[in-house]
């Protein structure tokens, strides 16, 4: 297996508070690792720290063998191309005064992927098509889209630089179940087509399981259990994992004893 990301003993602190307390795991190319836990467990901080958006106070993050915190200049820019993020609230991560097309084109221009505006537009149109949106909508503003469409835009923006790793922080938590299912299907298709690796952060184990090959359960800054998705969901070892599993409102179990 081709190891893309290695996280070793990572610590993230905010003043006195230790949000991430010595976390280690690895992620292979083309694989999905689900990171699950409750609010405040440190899962988002960890995701941000991997991308260098949060300073790490201890440990190392290796991306394709290179230590992320030591990257500078062109190497750092290259890393940012290869590791992208999809956020929970796509509306909050899109500039309301910019058309969604220019938001994507800007990314391409900055990273010099398209030679000029016209080339960038063409690329943005292809990306839109790929995530199931009409290229005609590139000239629209974020408020003109529904939540599910905005998340598709967020995904298109993240894919613009053809990354190898996508960190998706609660990408479907704000969406309706039927839209959730659509976005999950889209993410899976894109992964197959592009060989992407995902770190999929969420609090709903059922959703995380639907996406992930392996699952890491995080509690109070630490990973308390990590393993194969089936293993973690069907035969959990840790007490907290069990609590988390029993909290998911299970439709099948409720109907079984009817």
């Amino acid at each position: 297996m081709n190891e893309l990301l290695t996280v070793e003993n990572v610590v993230v602190q905010y003043g006195e508070l230790t949000a991430v307390n010595g976390v280690s795991f690895s992620l292979n190319a083309g694989e999905t690792l689900g990171l699950v836990g409750e609010s405040g467990c440190g899962k988002s901080s960890l995701g941000r720290a991997i991308l260098g958006l949060e300073k790490i106070s201890g440990g190392t993050v290796l991306f394709a063998g290179q230590e992320v915190s030591r990257l500078k200049g062109r190497a750092l820019k290259n890393f940012r191309r290869q590791a992208q993020m999809v956020f929970q609230d796509p509306f909050g991560s899109l500039n309301p005064r910019m058309t969604v097309g220019s938001a994507i084109e800007e990314v391409l221009l900055v990273h010099k992927i398209g030679a000029n505006r016209a080339a960038c537009y063409k690329k943005a149109a292809a990306l839109f098509q790929d995530v199931g949106l009409s290229p005609d909508w590139l000239r629209r503003y974020p408020h003109e889209f529904s939540g599910g469409q905005r998340q598709r835009i967020g995904i298109a923006r993240a894919l613009a630089l053809e990354p190898k790793l996508l960190i998706a922080d609660e990408p479907v938590s704000a969406l309706d179940v039927s839209v959730q299912a659509e976005i999950i299907t889209l993410l899976k298709r894109l992964q197959q087509e592009r060989g992407l690796a995902y770190l999929f952060i969420g609090h709903d184990l059922a959703v995380v399981r639907a996406m992930s090959d392996r699952i890491a359960v995080m509690y109070k800054g630490k990973i308390v259990e990590i393993g194969d998705s089936d293993q973690v969901c069907e035969n959990p070892q840790d007490t907290y994992t069990k609590t988390l599993l029993s909290a998911v409102p299970d439709i099948d179990a409720a109907l079984k004893d009817a």
């Binding site: 179940v177 839209v179 399981r209 439709i251 099948d252 109907l255």
Partner: protein
């Protein structure tokens, strides 16, 4: 729920229509909806964003955003009284004292510049006479399971976690001992573990107070575990209704089937 026929019908909505926009070419957000809620019953209103479920629920206490929206037809009977024909004074008694609401985002429903205790006390002062407000507030906060009610009463909303804020909102909703609690996506913004606690609290309040609950959600897992009966709404219309387990086990409508299929499963068959 057993023996519904013998119980009192609390809310009877008949052919309700709520329209938005120009009268010549209205958006029919709620398009001929009928449903009933009986005493002590938990009824789920299920559907996707924009299906009209929240507007239907707001219409119960005539809380729809007029003049942008208007009730274009139908009847809403609360214990037999037509709420749509009520004047302002009657509506004030209905709102809060008979029908109370909690919403998805407790942080935006609470006023950030007043303590939680003050805000709960306000409802008591408005609707109930001759009670000691502070004692009552503490009693309410204790009844929704806040560990230190006196301290919670003195807290500002930002000092409480999301789950505690939602408990405080429920305490406020219960301040005037309503007959019906409308819970509009009450746990969507919360973690699964906290969600479970809030749902257990709702079940407990129903058992203790005989409270009726209209639960609005898109999560069928919650519905299966909480509600007695279900109404499935799609594009302003109710497409299917009945006993929760019967409907979810054997859905008749295509939309209901799709909704059930979309639920992410924890355990695979």
């Amino acid at each position: 729920m057993n023996g519904i026929e013998n119980q009192q019908c609390l809310i009877d909505v008949q052919d309700l229509a709520v329209h938005f926009g120009a009268p010549e070419n209205p958006v029919r957000a709620v398009d001929g909806v009928s449903f009933q809620i009986f005493s002590g019953e938990i009824v789920a209103l299920v559907g996707e964003s924009g299906s009209g479920k929240s507007i239907s629920a707001l219409a119960l206490a005539k809380l729809i955003p007029e003049p942008a929206a208007r009730i274009a037809g139908g009847k809403i009977l609360f214990r037999g009284a037509d709420t749509l024909a009520m004047n302002h004074a009657e509506l004030r008694t209905l709102r809060g004292a008979k029908i109370a609401y909690i919403f998805q985002e407790p942080a935006t429903s609470l006023n950030p510049v007043f303590t939680v205790g003050y805000q709960i006390g306000e409802a008591i002062k408005l609707h109930r006479r001759g009670v000691h407000v502070k004692t009552e507030v503490k009693k309410l906060l204790a009844s929704v399971g806040l560990p230190e009610p006196a301290r919670a009463a003195k807290s500002y909303p930002h000092e409480l976690s999301g789950g505690m804020q939602q408990r405080a909102m429920i305490a406020m909703a219960l301040a005037c001992d309503p007959d019906l609690l409308v819970a509009d996506e009450p746990t969507t913004a919360l973690d699964v573990t906290v969600q479970k606690q809030i749902l257990e609290l709702l079940l407990q309040l129903r058992a203790e107070r005989g409270l009726s609950i209209l639960l609005i959600t898109h999560n069928l897992g919650i519905v299966a575990n909480t509600a007695d009966r279900i109404y499935v709404m799609h594009r302003g219309k109710i497409v299917e209704s009945g006993d929760t387990k019967t409907v979810l086990k054997n859905p008749q409508d295509v939309y209901t089937k799709n909704l059930i299929a979309a639920v992410p499963r924890l355990h695979h068959e």
